[in-house]
Symmetry: C3
Subunit: 351 residues, 3 copies
């Protein structure tokens, strides 16, 4: 390999406090929105319609929060997780100012924790990453930890630092100022759902009914759109030798599919406020058919915003299994084999 080619960082290349400026700022456009729509078919009116978004107080139709999430994550891959064994988790993921077509997003990370594994072959790297727009406003902030290979097995272990991360983002940490303020003009007929914040009760479960079968061309296109270069998604030739024998679907594809399905039952949950945590329970492959269901974990009014309430959801994505049974754990408390995603997050819903 030439000295000019980046092979990514290995565990011993990281140190706590290290700052990473990730490559390739990206201007998002209506083109990205259309490609995203063709891949997932989302139907939330706020992101779909300029007049609808403007009526409630947005400057224009905001870009889907998950496009921003995937893009920022994608930018961190070459520096953080090119040599990752596994994505272990997310936490404290908060969505910031809205992103509009024409905005340019770049990403930065800081290493906030390191822990070598007892096998001395791998270690866990904790980073806090931020997405910023062209005015240096934060559009997204999250912590993530990944298990990374060591290049040199004899490299000394760094001091162990494990950051304390909140298991749930508190209501006070939401970026309330970024929410639209004219919700009185929200049209519940055009949005496709009459259900408001007050209609959701803790413990309620919703089968999102819809399902979608993933093709290799689709998940590859999605992952490239975010400029995510993780090899396992694109290289069938080498994946043949892996334990899965084929390309893996980027976990974010499952998140986007589940979110699109969630329109059926959560049609007014137009805003992602925060992601508390997510687990990619099992890998997905081309040919898998993805279903989803959600459970309401909490409901919270926002003291500083009269017209939107926060609903905490657990959304479970299943493969090749209808969601009508709300499958998650078996009797032994272990995930059913059909579960591929367990996502815990907050959405904003008009009151």
């Amino acid at each position: 390999m030439s000295a000019k080619t980046s092979s990514g960082n290995f565990f011993e290349d990281f140190s706590v406090g290290m700052k990473l400026v990730h490559a390739t700022p990206r201007t998002l456009t209506v083109g990205d929105v259309a490609v995203y729509n063709s891949l997932y078919g989302p139907r939330f009116a706020v992101q779909s319609s300029e007049p609808f978004a403007q009526a409630i107080g947005y400057r224009q139709a905001p870009i889907d929060d998950l496009i921003v999430f995937h893009l920022v994550l994608g930018k961190t891959v070459p520096d953080v997780s090119l040599n990752a064994v596994a994505n272990l988790g997310y936490a404290e993921c908060v969505f910031g100012v809205p992103v509009y077509p024409g905005d340019t997003i770049r990403a930065e990370s800081e290493v906030i924790g390191l822990k070598e594994n007892s096998n001395k072959r791998t270690g866990v790297v904790y980073v806090r990453s931020r997405g910023l727009n062209q005015r240096d406003e934060v559009v997204l902030s999250y912590a993530r930890w990944v298990m990374v290979h060591k290049r040199d097995l004899d490299a000394p272990a760094p001091p162990t630092v494990v950051p304390e991360l909140a298991s749930v983002v508190g209501v006070d940490d939401f970026v309330i100022g970024a929410l639209p303020d004219r919700l009185a003009d929200y049209d519940y007929q055009l949005s496709g759902s009459e259900h408001r914040f007050g209609d959701y009760a803790i413990g309620e479960k919703i089968d999102h009914v819809d399902a979608m079968t993933i093709e290799d061309a689709e998940h590859q296109s999605a992952t490239r759109l975010y400029q995510n270069t993780a090899k396992v998604h694109f290289n069938a030739f080498e994946q043949k030798e892996s334990r899965f024998g084929q390309r893996l679907v980027y976990g974010g594809v499952i998140i986007s599919i589940a979110r699109s399905h969630s329109f059926n039952g959560l049609g007014n949950a137009f805003k992602l406020l925060a992601i508390n945590g997510g687990r990619h329970v099992a890998p997905s492959f081309s040919g898998d058919t993805i279903y989803a269901w959600s459970e309401v974990l909490d409901v919270q009014v926002l003291g500083t915003h009269q017209r939107i309430g926060a609903v905490r959801l657990r959304t479970i994505a299943l493969k090749d299994c209808k969601a009508s049974e709300f499958a998650r754990f078996n009797e032994s408390g272990q995930y059913y084999p059909s579960v591929v995603l367990d996502l815990d997050y907050w959405v904003g819903i008009p009151k």
Copy 2:
């Protein structure tokens, strides 16, 4: 299923005169145009080039008429045909004012007929649907009838109302005011065809020569772009148990492929004026290769527009069969098994 999840309307949920406001207005953009181009490769100069469109009198390059058709139809699916057994027909489909990037389209329908079937398990629902832009101008209007399941087989039959629908849209019903008015500046070299209105004769048949093989990733992307949620197109897992054993291609994909192929022989037929009727004769699946041919059924001058004439076409799409034999009916007057689409429509061609 949660009470919040829509399971769509069943036959007994409809009544004549009922108005339906369909969900999710959609702002169309140059992004949608590009995705559409990547899926079908249309080459009509008016839609492809801003200067070409502006030279003949459009404000900017209009969005392909079929994008508008698919989008409006897609919006009606959750309310009209989520529980459909079959799409039975279209009629009186008239294209209205041009749609430009930045316009936002929403859809409304009115139930204009109902007829329970003798098996008392299904019934036919007739609707008239309209697509409207952000200024409430009509961009598309059509009647459609679908066979819909009953939820409750004991529900009483409604009074039978079968609307009278024209078998052919009359020339006077075209929205002439929406046509461009500077056709003298139409460039027949850049358009790729020298053939004008006067060159087409009733009875003439044209083999469009080109062919295209459909992939699952392609028809799914197309159908999602229109926010069409009909389950049979996306769910390989459940379709395995269907009589087809696999996902069905949305019929509109075949229409768009045939229209793109028709450039070869109809290169100046840049404008869809109306669709008289269409029949999806047989289903299409991933792997099918689609050919098309057209027959000129009629030619009409437009009294109020000096520079464009109307040509009525029958376009037949075939799968895995070249169009050079102009196959349609066999000796018994039945469709050949290769026929998948029989579409009867009017196009505008410069004089």
Copy 3:
């Protein structure tokens, strides 16, 4: 076949000096950029970020040079190579003024050479093609020669004219005025690479490491985006009877994949200056996994531009074979079976 349907030009239809105005001008948009990004995932900062492009002196982020190349080539297909047996070569390909979203590209060609083959069944057609924007500025110019079928085997052979074409585009032929002029503001952290012009040495080889497996839905979408109608890419039904038994991937797809991979090692080579020649050594098919490596063939300062230097590269694309061995020729001087592309071109890299 109807007289209205174009069957393309055959060998005897061409004459030296003949001018061809190709059909369907095409306005490029941010939608095309997004579709291209989803198909190849390029990461060069100049094309990805408006602020980055503007900082170094572009009016806005320019459209990827290869989109322009594929588009112009695609426009020439119906007139030049619809009846081609094979693409034989390119030469003297020079990129002109930058293309921005909103620009409209059309294409013209002139026949510059003809040579009937000794079998009297085919002949070689040499054309010089130009892409022009809406202000008639040249965005691309190149010579290309293709082997084309005769329609009538008895047609007399034309006088043989074989144009002299340069094997390498000279530094003085680059369109220097089209290069940005504020390279002092080029940000080497955001671009993802610290390597400048002076860091590249003749003979240096770079393994681009990344790999991508091609799907039929992907190469078809790419080829349609360029309005390229060559049948072999889209028609699985007829290709079953061909010697390959399946659809062929448009060679330009391989060029774009290799260029995207080349970011890894050539992250600041943001500008294609010229293509000296290219050879599609072997066909590619759906399922092939493409790798790439490059060798530095030459480095040249540009007398009239202080801040950019020209690096001549040979980029080799391989299928189902890692690039780490820099495979090209075997001991007999013949291409290894894994080689699919051998491309010789100049890139601009900041000093």
